[in-house]
Subunit: 213 residues, 2 copies
DNA sequence: CTGCAATTTTGCAATGTCCCCAAGTTTTCA
DNA sequence: TGAAAACTTGGGGACATTGCAAAATTGCAG
């Protein structure tokens, strides 16, 4: 067995604490719930909470872990003849068209974003995650293109592509908080994506094109 | 008299506290200095510090206040035949060419950025300021172009132009922290500006062009 | 100049996040 | 089954931030 009972129990405890905390935050807001309350509700000590989560914000934004390498993954998986930005645009369109909960297109995400929106600490954390996404992407672009460390272009490209992704995510959040239904927002975002693609220069749209397979 | 003695004294106290705090932070780092120490060094009580500054971070980033409407000012002051992005590019080039301390091109800015860099709290605040710059710009663009509130284009344009500004500021900080001299960094940034302008599409470069005077 | 009202400053107490350490407890594995 | 390793917990504490009411200052009218 690749995983002992101990590991399983740890994951379970961690997940339980995060779930309990998320429930409380969704119900009463981030600042209004103390870590002590979370610990109580999860039947563990405050120290145990901090044993699993470095900071209170991580109790709520734990699930965003799958996001940090999203752009890198998409770029690495780009098709033959497709550029980095092209792959991201395509993947985004696919997620949006399928009204995927992975990008927040689901009922309940509005309340989730609402909690983040009303807490400076959570907003910071979200920004930090976005930064991480961008840094990872820059690193991937350097690998994929073999650009030297002092070449600023991969950094600029990562900035543009992250802007694309970040703007889409932010807009989805805003529209849902304004009362839009996922299906409606999905349609709006597809239009937004066309507008954004229009705003990008050919330099960006043709960066890091993968040779035909 | 437009201003009483009381007002003057308040401004003076505020400035003094900020100066003392900045000195301590530059010397020992942001987290290593407590608010109590700042208060002591400034001969006031902790409550007085909080009377002037909403949070510890504001003690260090107080001077950045002149930045929040920078892009708006530049865009509003664009010349006849000049676009929003064009004006920002021109103003940036002027500041960079003149090695202006307003954009951090000065000895000592490296240490300043170093303090920010090593404190998550300060980095967040800096990001928040950048967000404010962008929001102001978006508002200005809507005013200048008369775009309706539901038109997403001004928001996208503000995003692109802020990206320009933010990337320049971040790069200046990075280069200076890496040991570059202001004059050298100035030259590098001019090259960077050319590269960035190259990356922007005509849609962006020709947005909100002011009619000939 | 003096005294009062407005404004500031300060002390004190409290809350909440987060860290550190030492003392249990539980799980793993020889 | 008996350590050794890994978790959990209680206690203590540093520090940012806030609320409140007393105390010190200041502006200004008389």
């Amino acid at each position: 067995m690749a995983e002992g009972l101990r590991e399983r129990k740890k994951r379970q405890t961690r997940q339980y604490i995060s779930d309990v905390a998320t429930g409380l935050f969704l119900e009463r807001g981030f600042e209004a719930v103390t870590v002590a309350e979370v610990a109580d509700a999860a039947n563990v000590s405050v120290n145990t909470v901090y044993n699993y989560f470095p900071a209170k914000e991580d109790l709520f934004l734990d699930r965003s872990k799958g996001v940090v390498d999203r752009l890198s993954r998409w770029v690495r998986g780009r098709r033959g003849g497709e550029s980095a930005a092209g792959a991201v645009l395509r993947e985004l369109r696919e997620e949006v068209e399928s009204v995927s909960p992975r990008i927040g297109l689901m009922d309940g995400y509005a309340r989730f974003m609402g909690v983040i929106h009303s807490s400076p600490a959570l907003r910071s954390r979200l920004w930090a995650i976005g930064q991480e996404v961008q840094d990872n992407l820059e690193h991937t672009l350097r690998e994929e293109t073999g650009a030297p460390d002092d070449d600023p272009v991969p950094s600029l490209m990562a900035g543009q592509i992250s802007w694309l992704h970040g703007t889409v995510m932010a807009t989805i959040g805003r529209r849902l908080m304004a009362g839009g239904k996922p299906a409606e927002v999905s349609r709006d975002i597809l239009v937004l994506l066309d507008e954004m693609e229009d705003l990008l220069s050919d330099k960006v749209l043709n960066y890091a094109v993968r040779g035909p397979e």
